[in-house]
Symmetry: C2
Subunit: 315 residues, 2 copies
Amino acid sequence: MGEFDLIARYFKRPVRRSPLGVGDDCALLAPAPGMQLAVSTDLLIEGRHFLSTVDPRRLGHKCLAVNLSDLAACGAKPLAFTLGLALPQADEAWLAPFAQGLLALADTHGCELVGGDTTRGPLAISITVFGEVPTGQALLRSGARPGDEVWVSGTLGDARLALEVFRGTRQAPQAVFEAARERLECPVPRVSLGLALRGVASAAIDVSDGLVGDLGHVLAASGVGATLRAEQVAALPALALSVQDRLDFALAGGDDYELAFTAPAAARDAVLAAGRASGTAVHCIGVIEAAPGLRLVDAAGHAVVRPVAAFDHFA
Amino acid sequence: MGEFDLIARYFKRPVRRSPLGVGDDCALLAPAPGMQLAVSTDLLIEGRHFLSTVDPRRLGHKCLAVNLSDLAACGAKPLAFTLGLALPQADEAWLAPFAQGLLALADTHGCELVGGDTTRGPLAISITVFGEVPTGQALLRSGARPGDEVWVSGTLGDARLALEVFRGTRQAPQAVFEAARERLECPVPRVSLGLALRGVASAAIDVSDGLVGDLGHVLAASGVGATLRAEQVAALPALALSVQDRLDFALAGGDDYELAFTAPAAARDAVLAAGRASGTAVHCIGVIEAAPGLRLVDAAGHAVVRPVAAFDHFA
């Protein structure tokens, strides 16, 4: 199977909304009047972002999910994506389920594959995703203000358990492991919540490298600090974890693909309504303060110190 | 040096036109009213698209050049790009010249780096480029009509000589090799010509995998065939090559990054004017016909048969 057969067989589909889809030198996109185009790129590498043994259907899902998560963090509605794919060989037993997992999630969000590039090489998957957001309404990292509350969607830290089981540092009953693995390999991008938070949240980011690091980007971009309540943070994992792991995995788990966001205290009801409207749990875990830095306190207000850091690909 | 330091040091620059550049979950783009956004993606892999020994400055140039070439083939004006970069290590002696080569070409075309992703992994570079083109004016592959003339910009086949010298199948004097290597490693995207061909060319494509294969995409998309004159094709290489190599390298060289395009015979003067206006040589090499297939003829009209094929990454 050649490169062009491969594209035609697995990735070329009728394009509905894009003026021009897969198969010309460029795809053409036309955001609606009054809309800005939100663009995000992720590059996933075997052995770094996923194991060679991962189910290709789940991998296809995840590659797009992590990009949709970036759109969600901007409050953008998914429109289209391009796919760059380096493959060791054109293996149909791998490509068919990979394409199915990828395109099933794309269809769920009405996000069309409009272009791409395939080549032979060590397995690498590069997706650039496009969404639209009304001009001036994108959720940015820079909008958090002292007094705002800090919120997190869904659950944090469960994916990390699966990673630690793979690494051999933790053990878990089979059912717990499978649930953690589902979180690691099949994240659900919080697209609906992101849309519902337009005009409500003051700042947002998606939690992919761990809460401490990603919330840290919001604090840095906004020129503020925050205090988080350890008790609420430790309640973020859904799975049965030790007390220490609950806190550490929630603070620095990685691969969560939840939204961390801030909103004025007066918007609390609107935040809860956005959560209900999108079918996504939202949890208030702290408060933005003028003093720089990220602090963690117990119920009595005493500092809690944990040796956690964000994930850095080059640290 | 960590991932975020790396981005900040080499790739974060003031963004002038994009509403939001590097450093948030998404970049925001807003094409001007009446414009469509043209999007193209390329993925370059060490050992497949470039040698590990290539000058990183030239590699930075080429990674963006091959994407700008796709915009040129659509008649789109470059606006912005995203960069996905997998690196074995954060090596400043490599990153600094790579970024310089990349950003120098970007500046030449007013094309802003608006987002990206860096990770550790086997060296891979994924660029998605954005351009704008007035709605309905993009040059497509599907517009060639019987009677149109077939044109090629610049020179074809010279880059292939460098590749064959690297492979050890050809020898060349040092000055000839250096010129061929410059063509291979530093292609000049025909952006100005693409813009000048709006409203003039009936179809266009960029020649990256060889003329036979790429022109073949135009013929297939347009539902037509073509006859090329061997004498004109063999005149396309600029460098001193054997008679057989001239024809074969021009037909199936690879890495040319010239434009192949078609235009009605009545538009000949307009094509020549577009070439002059953009400072790019243009050569008429054949004619579009209703009969499917690509034919090659000598000056007497007799068929010329050459065993050439397009480059296919999975063949």
